[in-house]
Symmetry: C2
Subunit: 284 residues, 2 copies
C-alpha cells in the first residue's frame, strides 16, 4: 500500500515549504527527514479523507479505499500517521515531535468541525475560515517551521516562514475549494464536485448564499452547475480574497528579505497565482 501511494505523488507542496524555509542553513538529512514527516502526516489525512468521501481517484490513480476497501484504508492511514510520529520522535529534541503532533491534532480537529458543519446552511464565513486554517494552514505552517527549525535558522527567520506558511495554507485551501466547483474531473486527477453534493460549504457557496439567499445551496446540492449558479460577482470576490491571502504570505517574508528562503518560497506564491489564473482567467 505504501508503494502504491508513493508511486502517484501530488505536488509535494509541504516538503517544498520545508526546503524553502531551510534555505540558507547547512544542507542536512535532518531537514529531509522533517519534510518527509510532514508529508506523511498529510498523506495519512488524504487516505482517510478519501475513505470518508468515498473518492475513487487521487493524483490520477486509484485510492487505497478503492483498491483495498475502507477497512484496510482506515488502518493504513493510522499506520502512516503513527510512522510519521515514530520518525519525529527519533529526533534528539522533543520539539519536532511536539510540532508535528500539535499540527496533526489541529488538522484532525478542523476536519471534525467541518464534518459537523456539513449541511448547516447558516454556517458563518468565520467558521469556514477557522476550519480551513485548522485543516490546511496549520500543516503548511508546521512544514515551514520544521524546515527552518531543523536548518537551525534564527528565531525571526522561523517566525517569518511560519507566518508565510499559514497564509499560503489558507490561500491554497481557498484555491482547492474553487477547483472542486470550477474544474472538470479529467484535468484534476481526483474526484471533484463532491463538496456541494455532500453538504460541505465552501467560500463561493457561502458568499453566493449571502448575496442571494440559502436556496442556492439547495440548487447546488441537487446537482446544479456551479458555473451557472454562482454569479461572476461572487467569483470575483472569491479570487480577490485568494489574492489577498497570497499577498499576506508574501508580506510575511519582508523581515527576512535578502535571505535565500524568500527566493524559493516566493516561487510557490507565483505558482499558486498562475494556477488560479489558469483555473478562471476571467476572474483571477
Amino acid at each position: 500500500m505504501v508503494h502504491e501511494v508513493l508511486a502517484h505523488p501530488g505536488k509535494r507542496l509541504r516538503p517544498l515549504l520545508s526546503f524553502g524555509s531551510a534555505a540558507g542553513g547547512p544542507p542536512s538529512l535532518e531537514v529531509v527527514r522533517g519534510a518527509a514527516i510532514v508529508e506523511l502526516v498529510h498523506l495519512a489525512t488524504l487516505v482517510h479523507d478519501d475513505v470518508l468521501d468515498g473518492a475513487d481517484q487521487r493524483h490520477g490513480a486509484q485510492t487505497p479505499n478503492r483498491t483495498h476497501g475502507a477497512h484496510a484504508a482506515v488502518l493504513f492511514g493510522d499506520t502512516l500517521f503513527a510512522h510519521a510520529l515514530v520518525l519525529a520522535a527519533e529526533h534528539t529534541s522533543p520539539e519536532l515531535c511536539r510540532l508535528v503532533a500539535r499540527a496533526s491534532r489541529q488538522v484532525c480537529s478542523g476536519e471534525v468541525c467541518q464534518t459537523f458543519a456539513r449541511g448547516h446552511d447558516q454556517m458563518s464565513l468565520e467558521d469556514y475560515y477557522r476550519h480551513i486554517k485548522l485543516k490546511t494552514a496549520e500543516l503548511f505552517e508546521a512544514a515551514c517551521h520544521t524546515g527552518a527549525l531543523l536548518a537551525q535558522r534564527p528565531p525571526e527567520h522561523i517566525q517569518a516562514c511560519a507566518l508565510f506558511g499559514r497564509h499560503l495554507g489558507i490561500a491554497y485551501q481557498l484555491y482547492d475549494d474553487f477547483v472542486d466547483l470550477l474544474q472538470e474531473d479529467s484535468k484534476a486527477g481526483k474526484t471533484l464536485g463532491t463538496d456541494a453534493a455532500s453538504g460541505k460549504l465552501t467560500l463561493p457557496m457561502l458568499l453566493e448564499r449571502d448575496r442571494r439567499g440559502p436556496q442556492i445551496l439547495q440548487a447546488l446540492r441537487q446537482g446544479g452547475n456551479p458555473r451557472e449558479i454562482i454569479s461572476p460577482e461572487t467569483w470575483r470576490e472569491c479570487f480577490r480574497r485568494l489574492d489577498a491571502e497570497i499577498a499576506a504570505a508574501e508580506l510575511a517574508l519582508a523581515p527576512i528579505e535578502g535571505s535565500p528562503s524568500p527566493y524559493f518560497l516566493l516561487r510557490l506564491t507565483a505558482f499558486l497565482r498562475e494556477m488560479a489564473a489558469k483555473l478562471a482567467p476571467q476572474y483571477a
Copy 2:
C-alpha cells in the same frame, strides 16, 4: 464526543499496568499522564475498530459511529490519537514520544495484517500470534514500560515489567477472542460474535480447523453455534495456552520479586484467571 466515550470506561487495564509498574517509585503526575496517554491511544483504536466492524455497542453504551456516523468517528479517533502524541511530546525527553509512537505503529500494523488475513482460511497459528502480539501485546508492554520509566525505576525493573506486559497482552487477547465465541451479548456490553461472521480467524477456530479441516470455518461463518462446532478438546487446548501465557507473565516478574510492583501486577493475572474461569468453568 470526548465526554461520551469517557462516560462509559472499560476496565482501564492499561493504566493499571502503568501504575502497577510505577509502584515503588515516587508518586508523580508524570506517571498519571503516561497512563492517560496509553489509554488515549487504546481509545483511539477502539473508536476506529468500532467503525470498521460496524459495532453499535461498547462498554454498554452506543459507539461514536452509531451516534455520530462513521465519518465523524474516524476523524474523532484520529484526533484522540494526535492528542495522545501531543501529551507525550510535552514530556521533557523524547523517549516517551518514541515509546508511544512505536507502540501505536505496531498496533496499527497488527490491525492491517489482521485485516488482510480475513477470510484466508489457511492462515497459520504463527500469523495469529504475530497479529495479536502487534495489535494488543505491544501496547500492554508500552503501558508497563511507560509507568516504570516515568517512575524512574531501574533498568531491570523496566525490563521485567515490560516482559510481563507483553505476555499479559497476549493472554488478554486470547481471552478476548474466546469471549467473542463463548459469551452472550447481554453480559459483554459490546457487540459479539462478529469475528467468525467477518472472516476473522481466532485461536479456537484455527485449532479446530487443524483438528477437523477447513469446512468448520465455513460452518462458523454461516452462523453456526461456536459452542457446538468447536470441540471440548479444542477449548481445553485454548485455555491451556491462555494459562501458559499468564504463567509466563508471572514468571517475568521473578527478577524483581520483593519490589512493590509484583504485588499490584499479579492481581491482574489473578483477575484474568478469574474471568477465564467464569467464562468457561468446564475448561479453565
